[in-house]
């Protein structure tokens, strides 16, 4: 593998690290070196790594949850008003048809329900899951990414990517091993 233009089948290069601390330092050094198209993989959430990889961009999940919650609250209130005051008015003890205090408990529950749907499904959609196939799974030792090893992948799309130089760079970051990731 001494060619300097990446093979078409090469997705990127993957460095394997024994612990998350070394990975974090490696992410910082790769970014300082000018690499940008990369992703890190850890068996547990490491906030510092996520922040570095995402360039401190905030997650969109909270916005989705807010929208979900507001949608749930308005839908539940409007729905109850329409049912109880418009479509099927029942006179119960002469109470007002739109007796809104009684509509608070269902509206509250629907708010929580929609906000939770937004949190879970929004998170999965933002993450592009479910996604059964991904090139990183082609690396045999990647199965330890969910167990006890951390990985850093620099993709061949990166403008600064060079099969030889990037490999040497990754090997110099304290990694255990550097793997080719094929499509």
């Amino acid at each position: 593998m001494a060619e300097s233009t990446p093979r078409a089948s090469l997705y990127g290069l993957m460095a394997e690290f024994a612990d998350a601390q070394t990975l974090l330092d490696a992410v910082h050094r790769a970014q300082a070196e000018g690499y940008d198209v990369m992703d890190a993989f850890t068996p547990f959430p490491v906030e510092a790594v996520s922040e570095a990889i995402e360039h401190h961009k905030p997650s969109k999940v909270p916005l989705l949850v807010l929208i979900g919650g507001l949608a749930g609250a308005s839908l539940a209130f409007l729905g109850q008003w329409w049912v109880a005051a418009v479509d099927y008015p029942l006179n119960i003890g002469g109470r007002p048809y739109f007796s809104w205090p009684a509509f608070v408990p269902p509206a509250f529950e629907v708010t929580i329900l929609f906000a939770s749907f937004a949190a879970v499904f929004g998170m999965f959609i933002l993450n592009g899951l479910p996604q059964p196939y991904h090139p990183v799974f082609n690396v045999k030792s990647f199965e330890r990414a969910s167990q006890d090893r951390c990985f850093l992948v620099i993709e061949s799309k990166d403008p600064k990517f060079d099969p030889q130089a990037t490999r040497e760079f990754l090997a110099g970051l304290g990694s255990e091993e550097v793997h080719d990731v094929d499509w």
Binding site: V46, I53, A84, I112
Partner: protein, 468 residues
């Protein structure tokens, strides 16, 4: 594998404070937790088969009780006027209450940053789900014709142009319980995804790999994914916290919104929520203590966990006892002769006085030994007390529902109530259903959140380096 010398006694001084035994790494945690699922069937402790057998028999009883009910109608139950609410609502409230400890552990303790929640949250959330599954059977079955319950209970546009009455607490209940069940399932599944990926990566054969591969949705632990994941998980905890407090409050409205003496009290919502958590922790302890010793999980579920749960059981138990005292106070403070009769006369001295006395015995007196550390560190004592509390909390609902209903304003309409054999069959049946699901879960799903445990060990503590 866990090192044998660290997994010895729970009374170890070191283990009193630790949330995880020393010496663990990501690799040992992964190996130990996934081993429970992947070990051959011959390694499953024998008594678990015993539990399954008992559970299976009770599930058969459940099916017979349901079939009989659907054929004959609710007349096979012990219900009649004036006690038209019996076992069904008692069991509903009992089961939902049991579920509350799971959400408390997974959501409220997460927001409060209590690290000891980590090793028991998955287990407790599963308990919540299964308890809710048992609970919802009762309101559905008590309609007698559950296939019609769709338009009785849910706002479903039907050809008759009818809608439920949203001013009724019973409809609030439908929304509260169905939301609670759904959100608990989402919360549980979201927490499981990274661990299902671990199970996929450790699969020993193709079937396991495909099955866990599908369930894990292709999770690969990407830093970008964790970024959204952590936010979503935290927000779910934030949403579940008011939810869990609302669910039992709404259930208490079923009673307190009515004007029946013994039910019509403003203390009901907080008193019900505390009772729910109390019963829930009792059930968590009841299940955790045998499971932890059967699968040798003492390294992860340490003495500290059991002691903390015992403390919470004591606190919530005392809140419930305060509720009992306040019911007396309110009865006299109201000056209403019917309230005074219902609370101060009919409960402690009426025809159901032994049920009321057993309630005080189980829920107030039986928890007093928990003040002593010697009791809190003894698994045997904790198990026995939790068992008594579980019975006590069932009795509490019996006292609230039946004693209040059986003697209301008019002595001419007074009558006695007791559950029929079909009431008992259905109740015991749900216990069997719960046990089956719980012990199947323990055997087939990683019962400890592996990725969260990894944050508790030195490897998980990653510091940002300040390079000048």
């Amino acid at each position: 594998m866990a090192t044998p010398q660290t997994r010895s006694s729970g009374a170890d001084v070191d283990m009193d404070k630790a949330v995880i035994a020393p010496g663990h790494t990501s690799a040992t945690i992964t190996a130990k937790v996934s081993e429970v699922v992947y070990s051959p069937i011959s390694n499953t402790p024998k008594w678990i088969f015993g539990i399954w057998a008992i559970g299976f028999v009770l599930v058969m009883l459940l099916q017979v009780s349901i079939a009989k009910l659907l054929f004959e109608g609710t007349g096979i139950w012990g219900l009649n006027v004036p006690v038209a609410w019996g076992f069904a609502i008692i069991n509903l409230v009992w089961w939902i209450g049991i579920g509350h400890a799971g959400t408390l552990i997974s959501a409220i303790l997460l927001l409060l940053n209590q690290q000891w929640r980590t090793s028991i949250n998955r287990f407790a959330e599963a308990m919540t789900l299964f308890a809710v599954a048992c609970a919802v059977m009762f309101p559905l079955l008590h309609t007698g014709r559950p296939w019609l319950a769709a338009y009785w209970l849910l706002p479903y546009p039907n050809t008759m142009g009818m809608w439920p009455n949203f001013r009724s607490p019973l409809i609030w209940d439908v929304f509260a319980i169905s939301t609670y069940g759904t959100v608990s399932l989402l919360f549980w599944f979201t927490g499981l995804v990274p661990d299902l990926a671990t199970m996929r990566d450790r699969a020993k054969n193709k079937t396991q790999k495909v099955l866990f591969g599908m369930l894990s949705l292709g999770w690969r632990g990407s830093a970008r994914h964790w970024h959204n994941y952590e936010k979503a998980y935290l927000l779910l905890a934030g949403l579940s916290t008011p939810l869990v407090l609302s669910v039992h409050s709404v259930i208490s409205f079923d009673f307190s919104v009515s004007q029946l003496p013994g039910w019509h009290a403003t203390i009901f919502p907080p008193y019900f929520v505390a009772g729910a958590v109390f019963a829930g922790f009792a059930m968590v302890l009841l299940l955790t203590i045998p499971v932890r010793s059967a699968f040798h999980l003492e390294d992860y579920i340490t003495s500290r966990h059991l002691q903390n749960m015992a403390n919470l059981m004591l606190v919530t138990g005392m809140i419930v006892s305060y509720g009992y005292a306040m019911e007396f106070f309110f009865a006299f403070y109201s000056g209403n002769p019917f309230e005074i009769f219902a609370i101060a006369e009919n409960r402690p001295a009426g025809p159901y006085k032994y049920q009321w006395m057993s309630l005080i015995l189980c829920n107030f007196l039986a928890i007093q030994p928990l003040w002593f550390k010697r009791v809190r560190t003894s698994t045997t004592w904790l198990w026995i007390i939790s068992f008594i509390v579980s019975i006590g909390m069932w009795l509490e609902r019996f006292v609230i529902v039946v004693i209040s209903l059986h003697r209301d304003f008019l002595p001419s309409s007074w009558d006695m109530y007791s559950g029929s054999k079909w009431d008992w069959g259905l109740y015991l049946g749900t216990i069997g259903f719960f046990l089956c699901l719980m012990f199947l879960f323990v055997r087939f799903v990683p019962m400890i959140a592996m990725f969260e445990m990894k944050l508790l060990i030195p490897e998980g503590k990653v510091e940002e380096e300040h390079d000048g």
